[in-house]
């Protein structure tokens, strides 16, 4: 391994640019599902860490939903103590290898980095990923100090980012923690939603293995609300419950033709591909069918993931169809850029109005209308207005509807006294306390569909509140 010279390190401190992330080139990577970003080498990490000024004010920390001691861990990288850096992160985050990959750092920690005022901020996410991967590669994942067991049982419903974080924090405090997961594998959206090429599943399982090492018991195939109800858990002696069941219900557009063969919700499409490993069909038995031309409706991260999966499954042309302009797209800039690089075609300012099929009910074309942007709506984004007479037809064989997800209502409808919001979310205060004593909630089930790290932040806050509640 090449190491940077003292002169190079000195030069690096003056650099206004982040060290680029080594990545597979687009022409190659669209043919398989291996990870796109290859990760920093030790040399990259040392040179990038050198750019951190180690500010006393620690501005970056205010952007981190789980309050990672960012300057401290970067300082440890500078001294070559990468395992120490990983441990520092794990004081407040149980899933560093995941966050280093999927956090929108540009709108969080890196947004506040002082270096960002003149040039690019320090690549905090890339450094986090480096130390997490380094520690894993050593094969000796260290567990921080765990408080003596206090014998108090707590239950966590859902093993996505919110549930895993909450479970990990409570386990460290000495609680006896059980996670109940409805699917056959733990990880939630990290397993079924985010594709392998962006977040390899063995990395997710390694981070979950770490949560298990903290003492957390994970029971899969238990659908709370059906297999057991929340109140039954309480009867079984769980003294506090955290609900982190996420936003698992797919939204559809409500346009004609959405039930034609060849129309998937993004959830179905991604679940087939990621969770069930449909991209390896027929070695894995869950099929996925893809046309030559695929339209993805929506422009969030889920839409970009769907588009890039479709390309890898062999679609010749993949379109993102979105009613606003590039500026309003909810996806991270980096994801959009990756999609562009991989040849995804963008039909912007375009509103899908109907999906037409052939006689046997298979998708044939997507009918669209061109839009222009009017006044900002409630979300602050300019609303699209259909342009009269601009209707046109896009021949496609597959349509993936990726316009968002809603909370799954199973828990709310089977638990008495749990107050819910207008969009089916569970009402909870900033500590995760719901309308029922002893029941907490956090993540997408409370906020509606958001990000992995916000869910983790909510899980962490709820763990602290649960601890306070259980000790009072």
């Amino acid at each position: 391994m090449r190491m940077p010279s003292a002169e190079e390190l000195k030069q690096a401190t003056k650099s206004t640019c982040k060290r680029p992330m080594p990545s597979q080139n687009p022409e190659e990577r669209v043919h398989h599902f291996t990870e796109v970003a290859l990760g920093y080498t030790e040399e990259d990490a040392l040179l990038e860490a050198a750019r951190c000024l180690g500010c006393k004010t620690e501005e970056c920390r205010q952007g981190c939903p789980v309050d990672i001691a960012i300057p401290d861990f970067i300082k440890k990288i500078k001294t070559g103590n990468y395992v120490g850096a990983a441990l520092k992160i794990k004081e407040t985050s149980s899933l560093p290898a995941i966050c280093g990959r999927v956090c929108p750092q540009e709108s969080q920690c890196e947004k506040y980095c002082v270096r960002g005022k003149k040039g690019e901020p320090v690549g905090i996410g890339r450094l986090e990923r480096f130390v997490a991967d380094y520690e894993r590669a050593q094969g000796t994942v260290k567990v921080p100090e765990i408080a003596p067991a206090n014998g108090i049982k707590v239950a966590i419903i859902g093993s996505g980012p919110a549930g895993l974080t909450c479970a990990g924090e409570l386990a460290k405090m000495g609680y006896s923690v059980t996670i109940f997961e409805a699917l056959h594998v733990a990880g939630g959206v990290l397993m079924y939603g985010i594709p392998e090429f962006r977040l390899p599943k063995d990395i997710v399982q390694a981070d979950i293995g770490y949560v298990r090492q903290l003492g957390v018991d994970i029971q899969t195939n238990v659908v709370i609300g059906r297999t057991m109800k929340v109140d039954e858990l309480m009867e079984q002696g769980y003294q506090a419950i955290f609900i982190g069941t996420g936003a698992g219900l797919p939204n559809f557009m409500g346009i004609p033709g959405e039930n034609l063969n060849g129309v998937y919700s993004a959830n179905e499409f991604l679940t087939r591909v990621n969770l069930m490993k449909g991209y390896r069909f027929p070695e894995y038995l869950t099929p996925i069918r893809i046309g030559k031309r695929v339209a993805i409706l929506g422009a969030g991260n889920v839409a970009m993931d769907s588009a890039r999966c479709a390309k890898r499954l062999g679609a010749e042309e993949v379109y993102i169809v979105y009613r606003r302009s590039e500026k309003e797209m909810p996806a991270r800039a980096e994801e959009v850029e990756h999609a562009h690089e991989e040849g995804i075609l963008f039909h912007l300012l375009t509103q899908p109005v109907e999906i037409k099929g052939d006689q046997e009910n298979w998708v044939k074309e997507l009918v669209c209308v061109k839009c222009e942007l009017g006044e900002p709506d409630a979300s602050g984004r300019r609303s699209p207005i259909n342009i009269a007479g601009s209707e046109y037809s896009l021949p496609v064989e597959t349509v993936v509807v990726a316009i968002g997800q809603s909370p799954n209502p199973l828990i709310q409808t089977t638990t008495q006294g749990l107050k819910t919001g207008r969009h089916g979310t569970i009402d909870a205060n900033s500590d995760g306390q719901t309308s029922r004593i002893g029941i907490f909630a956090g993540g997408d089930i409370v906020t509606g569909a958001a990000t992995v790290i916000l869910a983790m932040g909510a899980g962490r806050k709820a763990a602290a509140a649960m601890d306070k509640y259980l000790k009072s």
Partner: protein, 288 residues
């Protein structure tokens, strides 16, 4: 891991019964609900309606027909083997109350899910008349079990090899004209059969419940693969169903959607055959 305590080949290599150790599911399941199971790491998640349950012993009975590669591999499991995953109960339970005279119509492997519903209907004080249909005598299942939970049972076979020759709908029509007073019909079987039953009962307005078994992935409301049109609404069979008002189901759409992965299933079977195992399963019959 969920152990298979009992295996019975109701029809050798074609219709298989497994009694599976799943205490949590057995403790909470009700007639009409289904489970989602997976044989092993490479397996599909397969939805199967619960054919019976024993809360005391913590077991669930499932019955399935070999229709493709996944079910063919599953059929090879034996007593003592395990399912890697077995989740449930899923979906809404059957609506059970004292309706009066209830006709249960089960076709093919659809007799399996009809059985616990018939039992509950009888326990609720209904007169339960069961019509069982099969293509031929050797494809008829659960006749004795159905007799025990019915006030009366009538068997039809397409080829006349047993019971009455003809379709279940002919018997149903006779019951309607000769006895009348039918308060509810529950029909589970191939989609063509369920649709035919609904056509008969719709004319005279007899409420008819059907149980749909569309393609699913997760079975918990997450993927929406199981979309069915009921009246003017799109429903998810996994959480809103699996039972629906048969008179409102868009059968044309339901049948077409069942064919979504036919090409892929053929491909899986082809590669499976090339691995050297035979097939006598009538691969592309309806899943019910």
């Amino acid at each position: 891991m969920y152990q298979i305590l009992k295996k019975q080949e109701l029809i050798p290599d074609l219709m298989i019964l497994f009694e599976v150790q799943a205490p949590l599911v057995a403790a909470s399941c009700q007639a009409g609900q289904f489970v989602m199971l997976r044989k092993d790491e490479i397996g599909e998640r397969i939805p199967l309606t619960i054919a019976d349950f024993d809360r005391g012993h913590g077991t669930i009975t499932v019955i399935f027909q070999v229709v493709g590669k996944s079910t063919q591999l599953m059929a090879k499991l034996n007593e003592g083997d395990y399912f890697l995953d077995f989740a449930g109960p899923l979906g809404q339970p059957s609506h059970i109350e004292k309706f009066g005279r209830v006709i249960m119509v089960g076709g093919g492997v659809g007799v399996a899910p009809i059985h616990p519903i018939a039992r509950e209907m009888k326990l609720a004080g209904n007169e339960v008349i069961s019509i069982l249909g099969a293509r031929s005598h050797d494809l008829l299942i659960l006749e004795n079990e159905m007799e025990k939970v019915s006030s009366e049972i009538i068997v039809t076979t397409d080829d006349g090899s047993y019971g009455r020759q003809g379709f279940v709908t002919e018997v149903l029509k006779e019951l309607m004209t000769e006895r009348g007073g039918i308060d509810l019909v529950v029909a589970i079987g191939p989609m063509v059969m369920m649709q035919a039953v609904c056509d008969v009962t719709k004319e005279v307005g007899i409420p008819t419940v059907v149980s749909l078994n569309p393609i699913m992935v997760d079975g918990t409301g997450m993927c929406g693969a199981c979309r069915v049109e009921v009246g003017t609404d799109t429903k998810f069979a996994c959480v809103d169903g699996p039972e629906f008002d048969g008179h409102k189901v868009n059968w044309t759409l339901a049948r077409q959607r069942a064919l979504m992965f036919t090409e892929e299933e053929k491909r899986a079977m082809f590669e499976h055959h090339n691995e050297g195992s035979g097939c006598r399963c009538g691969c592309h019959q309806q899943k019910n």
